[in-house]
Symmetry: C2
Subunit: 197 residues, 2 copies
């Protein structure tokens, strides 16, 4: 995908919450970096300090931690038109605990820490954009944290399929298990049970 196309995508995403003038659009896109990452490659690894916040133009990635037994726990899948990264490390400059790995060849736009600051100084409207973006993410993470402790694995699986029909077809069962918080063996059982119903 060329510059123009990916800039159109990201500007469309932003225009859901704030209106920008042509000048502001130009200023904004000038602060972005194009990033490509091949299937199976890391965008970022635990221990590093996150350099960017990302917008996905094309592809699919998974964000995960490894626990002390080396078991992966996926915190999100990101596909086209999603934002991802590690806001915690990005804002505190502390080393991240997350890995971000491409599950397909992917194209992203990144904004660096320095440019993120410049953005707020030069186009304060972006405070509003991020206020709304975070507000919405917050709502979904509050719900997810509730579901994690109150629903059965089968209910969480059914919810995921309903909520993310586009994602479920693009990821492996194993990764879905790591997102739901169960073993690959158990998700296999759940799926064959659900299909039998």
């Amino acid at each position: 995908m060329n510059y123009k196309e990916s800039h159109t995508l990201i500007l469309n995403n932003i225009s859901r919450f704030i209106d920008l003038t042509e000048l502001e659009k130009q200023k904004y896109t000038s602060l972005l970096t194009e990033i490509k990452v091949k299937k199976k490659d890391f965008l970022m690894q635990a221990g590093e300090v996150t350099k960017y916040e990302y917008f996905i133009v094309k592809g699919c990635l998974k964000v995960y931690t490894l626990d002390e037994n080396g078991i992966p726990h996926i915190s999100m899948f990101a596909i086209e038109d999603y934002w991802t990264g590690d806001i915690s490390s990005f804002t505190t400059k502390e080393p991240s605990r997350y890995y971000i790995k491409a599950t397909e060849n992917s194209e992203l736009l990144g904004i660096s820490r320095v440019n993120y600051k410049i953005l707020f100084q030069e186009i304060p409207k972006f405070e509003r954009f991020y206020r709304i973006l975070y507000q919405r993410s917050l709502v979904s993470y509050i719900r997810r944290s509730n579901h994690g402790i109150s629903l059965t694995a089968e209910e969480r699986y059914i919810n995921f399929k309903k909520k993310y029909p586009k994602i479920v077809t693009r990821i492996t069962q194993k990764d879905l298990a790591a997102y739901i918080g169960i073993t690959p063996e158990f998700i296999s059982k759940i799926i064959s049970k659900v299909n039998r119903m």
Copy 2:
């Protein structure tokens, strides 16, 4: 607590992220409503559309849902200097699924939906305040949702005690169980085990 004291508290909280002039402080506090709620009373119930976002001046409250079996799942405890409410219902005007109940006599400051809008129009700096506030909440809910699906109940209990030492002494074991996502019986076992260690 009188107006002055509670206004000082909320302004101190806000000054961690943004600086306000005297005039802005006056404008801001004029948009707030004082609310008192007695122990065991509801600040809000499921089915209602949330009218306010709240800041706790004094007391302790729990925010929870009831599942289809009538079992409560607590999504947060809020004490002095915390913000609470249901941003989802507050912003979408859809009926909330949450109950907010005082576990102690409590005093709050509320901002109504109308005043929240006025606030952003008149003091746009508040976009920044809420951007940062939501950003930070988001970090902790992302972590919580990961912990919910990846840690054992015992680990979640130990984490809670470490992270919220001030809260753990003020709530019942039963409510802590409803937060951790286990039965009161099982938390009782965990606690006696942890104490024996």
